[in-house]
């Protein structure tokens, strides 16, 4: 029955190991046989199917930092050996969201344990994914604009370099490989030579070095400097730990909403529970979103949440405890794959360690050595997944704007928007031009403060991978007591193209939704007599299933105790769950009204808000649904400022996607058009309620601000059309400039039958913007302005006070205008302007006017 003789010597796997000290990981079977090629770091910054050297990774990070304006790098500390430790902020330059709230922050950290090479690659993978998708005008652009993502790729730089110095060699202590490729700790007291025996076990475990539970548990950390979990001489005794704290301050720390310490291996989230149940639930849901998304990616790898309690006796002095307790944010240790034979088993279908990939698992420390053939997938999949978690912690969704657009005229009949006033307050701007009528068709346009939908490869709306179908549902109903009116069947759609209401998204792809209503014959119509207020009931979830903020007046934020604040449910009660939004009501009438006002050429005029007397707008309506605005105003210091926009006319609205401001011009003969630079200062929208008034919104100064303007000039007759009979000078109005002075110019408007008002948008002698205004007589193409003025002292935006504006005499201007060409002479009383002349060419032809006298 004996099948063969057995060589008992072969048994001595462990015994043989003890007799050697420094041995190598090998591909072929052996004490440390992997079953796959032993990875060796390569000096390249480019992502490849393998691991980059520290220099390669650093070059990648620095190249990104130097070439993208949305990345800022900072040395947040130095390692034990004095090497720089870098952290990078992935965010736009300001620390304010596009609506004007303080930006939230996340902090993701890698490379605390040297041998876990997966970790710096994954941090770099997050960066690579953000850079590659920065232009998507969707989720990733949203994150860059509205969040401060602090990424620290390699904390334990010295240790990491030591593992790369010895990519194969380790010192075997019993069956545990230490130092060399298996160094975990920092290099305190350690030289770089693995063969010197006195020091190779030394170093501090940087994941046992944090308060508040530092050295509180002798089963979990050790005062023995040779222990693999040596906690060091005191809480945050190590320079690397201090660098971590400094990196968190880049958030800044009071804006943090999430911390992840990226390790390997085990394929789990070791999350930290605190005594704040609400924080724990948010964290669990966040990790659920992370894992269910990741599981749908190419590798199909499932990350299991295995929470621990941050409490005396259980806690170990790790960094995730520090962040969970100190900053009260979701905080966890991500253990990258392979799976790790946990008990109870997190992955019953996986063998664990290197065997997950078909390897030999000769020593389960091979889980720290991901095969080169796997790292690209791991890096890319986790690089895609982290932004999903960031998106969740960016905050619950909130309705930001609602519009009703009359389909027949394209006019905005109702315009509601939540304008940020402070970090804790939004105010509702509400402008209903006319009540909704029962027998008209309207488009309801809803905008949210974040991109709300995922699209599949065919461009169709689909749940975010891993999320339930219900997360794609939307309710936008009109309510009057017990009567509910939904939009017309299948008219609802998310908007994937730019352009704003009614057909485009607001700021990011799929941040807006539109639906059609016609109330004729509806039960709701039957319930309305005269003018009645009807409630709009809105319900939707963002991509990770977070419900709407039930009360946008109080912006949702992460509270200092560790849960959402200002995040209300349907009844206005603060929760972490949100609800539906029924904060908006609109007037509906049973009467039949005239069509709403739509823009006519006669809108071309000078306009001003009476509470902003001293600044204003020149509007020029051109052909082909275009319009120009000149905004003459001030900067925050009371200096003159002007902006110009070219807009699109839509019904009663003009949309200016960009307001341009200029710099670099010099007044007079020194003017050099090549020195003039135009830059984008913001955007604006103007909505006319009738021929004599508009409400305008601008986002120039961080947040939405508004003005309600009336006419300063009027040359209309009936129907808001130009009265060209009475105002025979009208054909000469418009914008004029000298071809050799491209970058400054004159705008001439009719102020009366034989009077004009002229704005000269120019510069002072120091290259600052300046504008000069004057009114004067018009006679057969000859304009004479006896007294022009230059203004100062106004303050941009809501802080404007008419009383601080002062006018100073500037001098005289004389124009001689034909239909298409002319000239100007000027004599300023201010020495820095002096006198001179320009040859003029017409720049704009106003719609509805035709000049034929030339």
């Amino acid at each position: 029955m004996k099948r063969r003789t057995i060589v008992l010597g072969a048994l001595l796997w462990c015994g043989a190991a003890a007799s050697q000290s420094v041995i190598e990981w090998t591909e072929q079977p052996g004490i440390l046989g992997l079953g796959f090629p032993v990875p060796e770091p390569v000096d390249t910054p480019l992502p490849f199917d393998g691991f980059r050297s520290y220099n390669g990774l650093l070059t990648r990070h620095q190249d990104f930092m130097l070439n993208h304006e949305f990345i800022a790098g900072e040395v947040v500390g130095n390692s034990e050996a004095g090497r720089d430790i870098w952290a990078y902020r992935y965010s736009d330059a300001d620390s304010i969201t596009v609506t004007g709230l303080p930006e939230p922050a996340i902090y993701t950290q890698g490379g605390i344990h040297a041998r876990e090479w997966q970790s710096p690659e994954v941090l770099t993978g997050i960066m690579e994914h953000l850079v590659a998708n920065a232009g998507d005008q969707w989720l990733h652009r949203y994150l860059l604009d509205n969040m401060n993502m602090v990424l620290l790729p390699v904390l334990n730089v010295d240790g990491y370099l030591q593992t790369q110095r010895y990519p194969r060699q380790v010192y075997l202590e019993g069956s545990a490989p230490r130092d060399g490729r298996m160094r975990r700790k920092n290099m305190l007291g350690v030289d770089e030579d693995i063969n010197t025996s006195g020091d190779r076990l030394l170093g501090v475990d940087l994941n046992r070095n944090s308060p508040p539970f530092w050295a509180t548990n002798s089963g979990a950390s050790s005062s023995d400097p040779g222990s693999i979990v040596h906690h060091g001489s005191g809480p945050h005794s190590e320079p690397e730990s201090l660098a971590m704290v400094a990196a968190a301050r880049l958030g800044p720390e009071d804006r943090l909403r999430m911390y992840t310490d990226v390790h390997s291996f085990s394929q789990v989230h070791f999350s930290v529970n605190t005594n704040n149940t609400r924080r724990n639930v948010i964290q669990r849901n966040l990790l659920g979103d992370f894992s269910s998304f990741h599981a749908q990616l190419e590798g199909g790898k499932v990350y299991i949440d295995r929470p621990s309690d941050a409490r005396q006796g259980q806690a170990i002095g790790s960094t995730d405890e520090f962040f969970a307790v100190t900053y009260a944010v979701p905080s966890w240790t991500l253990e990258i794959e392979p799976s790790g034979t946990l008990s109870p088993d997190a992955h019953p279908s996986l063998p664990g360690c290197g065997a997950d990939y078909g390897g030999f698992a000769s020593n389960c420390h091979d889980g720290f050595i991901l095969p080169e053939s796997e790292i690209r997938r791991v890096r890319e999949n986790l690089g895609q997944t982290f932004p999903i978690a960031y998106y969740g912690q960016a905050g619950p969704p909130s309705v930001t704007a609602v519009r009703w657009i009359d389909d027949a005229t394209g006019a905005v009949v109702a315009d509601a928007e939540w304008d940020v006033q402070s970090a804790t307050q939004r105010s509702l701007f509400f402008n209903q031009v006319q009540p909704l009528q029962l027998d008209r068709s309207y488009t309801l346009w809803l905008a949210f403060d974040k991109p709300m939908r995922w699209r599949n490869d065919n461009g169709q709306i689909a749940p975010l991978p891993g999320q339930a179908t219900r997360t794609t549902e939307v309710t936008a109903d009109l309510l009057l007591e017990d009567v509910t009116q939904s939009p017309e069947d299948s008219s609802g759609q998310w908007l994937a193209n730019a352009g704003g209401a009614p057909d485009g998204y607001y700021r990011y792809r799929d941040d807006a939704y539109s639906a059609s209503f016609n109330l004729a014959g509806s039960p709701l119509a039957a319930a309305i007599t005269g003018e009645t207020q009807v409630t709009l009931n809105l319900s939707a979830q963002d991509m990770v299933g977070q419900l709407l903020d039930g009360d946008p007046a109080t912006p949702a934020d992460w509270g200092i105790v560790g849960n959402w604040v200002g995040y209300e449910d349907t009844n206005g009660v603060e929760t972490d769950l949100g609800g539906s939004d029924d904060t908006l009501t609109f007037a509906v009438t049973s009467a039949a009204l005239d069509d709403p006002f739509v823009i006519t050429p006669g809108v071309s005029a000078v306009w001003f808000d009476p509470t902003h007397d001293g600044e204003g707008f020149v509007i020029e309506v051109l052909d082909n649904q275009r319009a120009v605005v000149y905004w003459f105003t001030y900067d925050k210091a009371g200096n003159q400022r002007w902006m110009i926009g070219i807009g699109q006319v839509r019904g009663n609205e003009v949309v200016f996607p960009e307001l341009l401001e200029s710099s670099g011009g010099i007044f007079g003969d020194a003017f050099d058009p090549a020195q003039v630079q135009f830059s984008n200062a913001g955007n604006a929208s103007f909505v006319w309620s009738d021929c004599g008034a508009f409400r305008m919104r601008h986002n120039v100064d961080v947040r939405n601000q508004r003005q309600a303007a009336l006419r300063l000039t009027d040359s209309t007759g009936s129907g808001c059309e130009f009265d060209t009979d009475r105002f025979s000078l009208l054909p000469f109005t418009g914008s004029w400039y000298d071809l050799e002075h491209d970058g400054e110019g004159f705008v001439i408007s009719a102020a009366g039958p034989d009077r004009v008002v002229v704005y000269w948008f120019t510069y002072d002698d120091a290259g600052n913007q300046a504008w000069i205004v004057g009114d004067g007589s018009f006679d057969n193409g000859q304009v004479n302005i006896e007294q022009a003025f230059i203004a100062s002292g106004g303050v941009f935006g809501d802080a404007f006070d008419p009383d601080t504006v002062s006018l100073e005499p500037w001098g005289q201007l004389q124009f001689s205008l034909g239909c298409n060409s002319g000239s100007v002479n000027y004599q300023s009383v201010l020495p820095q302007y002096g006198s001179g002349s320009q040859n003029l060419t017409r720049l704009t032809n106003l719609a509805g006017l035709d000049c034929t006298t030339d």
Binding site: A10, A220, G358, S373
Partner: protein, 332 residues
């Protein structure tokens, strides 16, 4: 903390308090190994089951013995009995636990049994495949290659082992069949590479590179000079700079030549303004310490194109010499 976690924590302390009796574990592993060599499979499996629950031996020692046993089995032939034994233990659930090195409240085995048992099966898969490959070559049974599967890492690796160490006279007639096999299943490209390495045949390496992907490809391109000679490799790398999957490996490899080969360092300089590759070229050049490099990097630093200036900076950073660092320090 919930009750289950409390119990788990207690169990962990208990486990930590027990030391493995190494001698006992080794003697039990020897006994199991001997038993496996003489008993029929049913009896072997029954004994392994019995031993797993033998409370007369402390749990931790028992599992240490099982671990040593599955590791030692690797040196035995993968016959049916051994295979079934390893397979049985690949489903074993360890019960002697210690806390995970990242989380006190999560446990891992003191002695892994199941994962190394699975690893033992993988070792055998590789050995069996190597034997099968060697036999096929000896018998000129080339149908073996046309039916080879790429589903298991160790199947491909085992076949590659056979080809890498085969006598040249057996290998050469197999080459057309290898090419056919790799054409059918590109994931088998590593076997072609093994044959090319064995024969030191540049043409065959080139054929393998038509199919190789991922990590194998990167490593091969990076070390191409050792396979096809420095001149041929240099030509290959230069050709690969323009496009394709080998740009990163080619730049890293060319960097090693840049110090002594002005044409190569010029080629790398031309990449400096490339959005994707420029940083790689900057690192390769900087590391190369090529003559005149610091001056040229300092020139780039003054460029009015921000990307070129950035690459000059990266070059100086990766150069790391005193002069380079001084130039960087003088930068704003």
């Amino acid at each position: 903390m919930n009750r289950a976690l409390a119990l788990l924590a207690l169990a962990l302390y208990a486990a930590a308090g027990l030391a493995t009796d190494e001698l006992e574990a080794r003697s039990q592993a020897q006994r199991l190994l001997l038993m496996t060599s003489v008993l029929p499979s049913q009896a072997v499996l029954a004994e392994l089951e019995r031993f797993s629950d033998d409370r007369s031996i402390p749990l931790e020692t028992r599992e240490a013995a099982l671990r040593q046993y599955v590791l030692s089995l690797r040196d035995e032939p993968p016959d049916a009995v051994n295979w079934q034994a390893a397979e049985l233990l690949s489903r074993y659930r360890e019960r002697a636990l210690v806390s995970h090195s990242h989380s006190l409240q999560n446990a891992v085995p003191v002695h892994n049994v199941a994962a190394p048992a699975r690893g033992t099966l993988n070792v055998w898969t590789r050995k069996l495949e190597r034997s099968a490959g060697e036999l096929a070559l000896a018998n000129q049974d080339y149908g073996y290659f046309s039916s080879l599967s790429a589903n298991h890492m160790q199947v491909v690796a085992g076949a590659a082992d056979a080809l890498k160490h085969a006598p040249v006279q057996l290998l050469e007639p197999a080459i057309p069949h290898l090419i056919a096999a790799v054409t059918r299943e590109p994931a088998l490209a590593p076997i072609m590479l093994a044959a090319a390495a064995n024969l030191s045949d540049p043409d065959l390496t080139a054929v393998a590179l038509e199919f190789l992907e991922g990590a194998d490809r990167f490593r091969t391109v990076l070390e191409l000079d050792g396979i096809i000679g420095p001149d041929a490799a240099r030509a290959w790398w230069l050709k690969s700079l323009d496009s394709g999957p080998d740009q990163a490996a080619a730049i890293a490899a060319l960097g090693r030549m840049a110090a002594d080969d002005p044409d190569v360092s010029e080629e790398l300089f031309t990449l400096m303004g490339d959005a994707d590759l420029g940083a790689a070229a900057a690192l390769a050049l900087g590391k190369s310490q090529a003559p005149g490099l610091v001056d040229r990097a300092a020139e780039l630093l003054k460029s009015d194109q921000p990307m070129l200036a950035a690459r000059g900076r990266l070059m100086l950073q990766s150069h790391g010499g005193r002069q380079a660092l001084q130039i960087l320090e003088r930068q704003p």
